[in-house]
């Protein structure tokens, strides 16, 4: 009973925070709402008997991704407090698309018979680690290569030399026309 109550509470927090992520005009606040949504998801994982995933979620997402995002906002933010425009002109179409998706998938979920066998107890952290290094060893190694490639790619992109001091806001088309193709 308490578990389902906690789950409902976490779900409500996640939903509200997610709506604020897409609605907030201030980017820093949007990032912080995302942090709340991810923390609520971690709570949901804990309710769902996945304590290890809850911990990993807090460590990598809230500790890593959100910090990176805040760096991104602050480094590139204009001095206006990172208030950004939300594209109101396309928002009706965007609402239509997202509600269409919701109706499609939600309808499918509601019609499907989701009854199934009683599941085995969820894996403990030790079992999770064992399957990661035994059954899924190849995927594990490929993931490490992917992470390495991502780090190298990020460094190469961020270190790329600038053609001029700063191109300013004269528009990308003009800048690209002068520079020729991007290296």
């Amino acid at each position: 009973m308490t578990a389902s109550l906690g789950g409902a509470l976490a779900a409500a927090v996640v939903l509200a925070a997610a709506i604020l992520v897409v609605a907030s005009r201030n980017l820093v606040r949007a990032v912080l709402w995302l942090a709340l949504a991810l923390l609520g998801t971690a709570a949901l994982y804990a309710v769902l008997d996945a304590p290890f995933l809850a911990g990993v979620q807090v460590l990598t997402y809230v500790g890593g991704v959100v910090t990176l995002m805040i760096f991104g906002v602050m480094v590139t933010g204009r001095h206006t407090g990172a208030v950004v425009e939300v594209d109101r002109s396309g928002s009706v179409r965007a609402l239509l698309v997202s509600f269409g998706f919701l109706a499609l998938v939600g309808g499918a979920i509601l019609r499907t018979d989701l009854g199934g066998p009683t599941p085995p107890p969820p894996p403990t952290t030790a079992e999770l680690a064992r399957s990661l290094l035994d059954e899924y060893l190849l995927a594990f190694e490929v993931t490490s290569v992917l992470l390495l490639a991502a780090v190298i790619g990020a460094v190469v992109l961020a270190r790329r030399r600038d053609p001029g001091p700063t191109a300013g806001r004269r528009g990308m088309a003009a800048a690209l026309a002068e520079e020729g193709p991007v290296r």
Partner: protein
């Protein structure tokens, strides 16, 4: 919590992410919405893993690693965009494609 409610929650979250991707013009805000969508998928994985069995939890670990690398490369691109053009609004990128 039953499986159906959790899957509906994940679907609603994913739709919110779609709305964000379609309305936001700032590159970092776009990344935030993509994060929401990835998170929704992870919730569905964990819901299935706990309530119906299967390797969902391991898959979520891999998905986390992939999302993190995506954010790293995405933010590097944002920095590049900003250093070159002094802005991170994606309309400029759209303009350049013409």
């Amino acid at each position: 919590m039953m499986l159906r409610e959790l899957l509906l929650l994940a679907t609603v979250l994913f739709s919110i992410g779609i709305y964000g991707v379609l309305t936001r013009r700032h590159a970092v805000a776009l990344l935030l919405s993509i994060e929401l969508m990835a998170n929704a998928a992870n919730i569905a994985f964990v819901a299935f893993a706990t309530l119906r069995g299967g390797p969902g939890e391991v898959l979520v670990l891999f998905a986390l690693a992939i999302t993190v690398s995506e954010v790293a490369v995405g933010l590097a691109l944002v920095m590049l965009l900003y250093r070159r053009y002094g802005d991170t609004v994606l309309d400029l990128a759209r303009e350049a494609r013409r």
